[in-house]
């Protein structure tokens, strides 16, 4: 369950930012998590809630936006969104494709007091 290490990294970043911006309490945290990332949102929420206890971010809500998987064909340049895990260009059927989005594991912003 790597969600625990991801939750820990997330908490570290929030505590750093909290000190920089003199935040007393974090109410919610906006995240972007790609559809291709192996993070299970429910299990990330669970882990985060656990380790956030006793910190400025205790009880904060994780708002997780999922980012769809998109690719660009390296042969014909077509950009397409990946469905049913088919990393194949819909125009020319090439399999030489570059992943543009879907692997995100980013923090975006904090709602804070």
């Amino acid at each position: 369950m790597h969600e625990m290490s991801i939750a820990q990294s997330l908490l570290n970043i929030i505590l750093q930012e909290g000190a920089t911006h003199q935040i007393r309490r974090v109410v919610s945290v906006a995240l972007k998590v790609g559809e291709l990332s192996s993070v299970v949102p429910e299990s990330l929420r669970f882990c985060f809630e656990l380790i956030a206890q006793g910190t400025i971010v205790e009880g904060a809500e994780l708002q997780i936006e999922r980012v769809p998987v998109t690719c660009r064909c390296e042969d014909c340049g077509t950009q397409f969104s990946v469905e049913h895990l088919l990393f194949v260009c819909p125009s020319c059927h090439s399999r030489r494709v570059e992943v543009l989005s879907g692997r995100e594991l980013n923090i975006q912003s904090l709602e804070a007091e």
Binding site: R95, R96, A112
Partner: protein
């Protein structure tokens, strides 16, 4: 109440450590593989075979990642290779920091190839870079040809897929053609080898691929693709 924009990668700390490791590997002229699979697919068996097969040609070092025990490191040590055992004490994957801490006892100048045997798991290891040149994964025919559909990230991020235990094909319901096709739909750039660490079938092609990668790393110095 106010909104504080904080656009950062959650795994940036690991990413930094992986880059530090990568620099150490490049300076030593090492080719580095992050070897991943589910438990029991044959990572340690492949390493034993590879150390024997490349003896006198490629100097191989191994970092063994396991939740517990030194069993795999002992197997590698018996083959005469430099080896470090990492015990994650429960963690389901290795990260950049663990690799950094494992490097000290290794004499990198006397190695050509470093293989990190990751914790047996088809999900988590794919998310954490270690500073490797390439991710290499093993899927054994006993695990079934549906696995690419269930663990897309690992197939998507690996450069090489070894389909192991082909000696068992007569006994299992696994269609290698289907397995290959499903893997290639996720990642058309995958280099695929069909092997048996039991009979040795197909291993020479893998050894040859490794010889070439190591030679390219030496030729390019630190300019090779990450």
């Amino acid at each position: 109440m106010r909104t504080v924009p904080v656009v950062r990668n959650i795994l940036e700390a690991n990413q930094r450590l992986a880059e530090e490791n990568r620099k150490v590997f490049r300076d030593a002229g090492l080719f580095v593989i992050n070897l991943m699979s589910g438990p029991g697919a044959g990572k340690t068996s492949l390493l034993e075979r590879t150390i024997d097969g490349l003896r006198g040609q490629v100097r191989i070092g191994v970092i063994e990642g396991d939740i517990q025990s030194t069993y795999d490191a002992d197997r590698i040590s018996q083959k005469g290779a430099q080896v470090v055992q990492l015990n994650t004490g429960g963690a389901c994957h290795l990260d950049g920091n663990m690799i950094k801490s494992a490097l000290e006892p290794l004499d990198l100048e006397r190695l050509d190839l470093l293989v990190v045997e990751n914790v047996g798991n088809l999900v988590c290891p794919a998310e954490f870079n270690l500073g490797e040149d390439m991710k290499v994964m093993i899927l054994s025919v006993a695990e079934g040809d549906d696995k690419p559909l269930k663990y897309p990230l690992m197939f998507q991020t690996s450069a090489v897929l070894l389909i192991n235990k082909v000696d068992l094909l007569p006994y299992v319901d696994c269609d290698v053609k289907v397995m290959r096709e499903r893997a290639l739909q996720l990642n058309g750039d995958l280099t695929i080898f069909e092997v048996s660490c039991r009979t040795g079938q197909g291993l020479e092609a893998w050894f040859q691929w490794l010889r070439e990668q190591v030679a390219m790393r030496k030729a390019k110095g630190d300019g090779a693709k990450a």
